[in-house]
């Protein structure tokens, strides 16, 4: 990661830490700020896990509800992002456990096409995205998670390692192997 991007990321994280402090103090505008800053990334993360747009939206709301309920577990001064993403992952796993089902990629893609106002000349782009998603589905779950967190979410390997409870080298290996597997799938 280039130093400028790193500084930018640190500044964004510091802003989240400040918002979280206000949120703990009971300010609704701080919640709005947190939602604004995190919802998009969280939705992308949840979408990468569940591969269902509607479910990702539901899980996003549930993540913020759980975040609210467990807000006292946030330790002031510590990064907010790993804390929120850990809750999001837990929400996803709980949902998967309770429902016991996985929605198929094709169903999600179909629902996305139906729900969106995408012009017809963009269908090819969507088809490409579909190929990537199909390829991603062929990547083992642990590798896919590291791959998405690094290449899609923009997490550093150190953050991924901390989040997944693995070593930094293991995070790199997973992401690398995931990418290699994905390339094989796309050939």
């Amino acid at each position: 990661m280039v130093p400028g991007a790193k500084n930018e990321q640190d500044a964004a994280e510091q802003a989240l830490v400040a918002l979280m402090q206000h949120y703990l103090g009971g300010r609704i505008d701080a919640f709005d700020g947190l939602y604004d800053a995190l919802a998009s990334r969280l939705r992308g993360y949840l979408l990468s896990l569940c591969r269902d747009a509607a479910l990702a939206d539901d899980l996003l709301q549930e993540t913020f509800v759980q975040t609210h309920r467990s807000r006292r577990t946030y330790q002031p001064g510590r990064p907010v992002t790993p804390w929120v993403f850990a809750i999001a992952r837990h929400v996803y796993l709980m949902n998967r456990r309770s429902t016991g089902r996985r929605l198929r990629l094709e169903e999600r893609f179909a629902s996305e096409v139906r729900a969106s106002d995408v012009p017809h000349d963009d269908v090819r782009t969507l088809a490409d995205a579909d190929r990537v998603r199909r390829a991603l589905r062929g990547v083992p779950a642990d590798q896919r998670e590291a791959l998405v967190m690094h290449h899609v979410q923009g997490w550093s390997f150190a953050d991924i390692a901390a989040r997944l409870g693995i070593r930094v080298n293991a995070a790199k290996t997973r992401a690398f192997r995931g990418m290699r597997r994905m390339r094989e799938q796309l050939k």
Partner: protein
């Protein structure tokens, strides 16, 4: 992205200032009085080992206090595990589990004059059950306290958090038991004392899941 009105309203209704939980190690210190009570109560309610004077203060009380402190530190690790985003790496978990096995074994090796001291013939089962029961019961208060502390957080991996505080509680109880039981025969130590610690781990995992389910409603 802006928050959907219904979610925002739900949050706003329940939005009161909250005080963050203290750091895990500080919260684990709440177990110190309980650990001290367990340490004293286990031998006091029965009797102290017959060779307690011979092994000396350090190897008797010193080692037991050390083992109880190790148990509290492991509970602190469990409380850290119970905070989202602060999950322990697998290597650390493996290291903690290894410590849970090694610490009692090393303390036994440093305390026992030889490894053939055991129950009288025909009493092995009864004595083993007695030690197992005493240790398992002694672990219960520590387990309940640790489960309560962990449940106040948000264990995203209940099994790991429960196993860790089960191990910590088991070590605290065993620290008291070693002031009462002087047997050093491997089969007694492994089955009765090690078995009680293993049972404590199993109960810890079960408690973690029960509290999770209760909390989730």
């Amino acid at each position: 992205m802006t928050a959907p009105p219904d979610l925002r309203e739900k949050i706003a209704r329940d939005l009161a200032p909250v005080r963050p939980l203290r750091p895990p190690l500080v919260r684990a210190l709440a177990l110190v009085p309980l650990a001290a009570a367990i340490l004293v109560a286990v031998p006091a309610l029965r009797f102290f080992r017959s060779d307690i004077a011979a092994i000396g203060f350090l190897r008797a009380w010193g080692f037991s206090i050390g083992q109880a402190i190790a148990g509290i530190v492991i509970v602190a690790a469990a409380l850290r595990e119970a905070i989202p985003g602060r999950s322990l790496p697998r290597t650390v978990i493996a290291g903690i589990v290894a410590c849970g096995v090694i610490i009692p074994a090393v303390l036994l090796a440093l305390t026992a004059p030889r490894f053939d001291i055991g129950p009288a013939a025909g009493h092995a089962l009864a004595e083993g059950i007695g030690c197992f029961r005493a240790s398992a019961f002694a672990a219960v208060p520590a387990l309940i306290a640790a489960a309560f502390l962990a449940a106040r957080a948000f264990p995203t991996r209940p099994s790991v958090a429960g196993a860790l505080y089960g191990l910590g509680g088991g070590l605290i109880a065993d620290a008291g038991l070693r002031l009462y039981c002087e047997y050093s025969q491997p089969e007694h130590v492994i089955l009765a004392h090690g078995g009680a610690i293993a049972a404590s781990i199993v109960v810890g995992v079960a408690l973690a899941w029960v509290t999770r389910v209760v909390k989730d409603g």
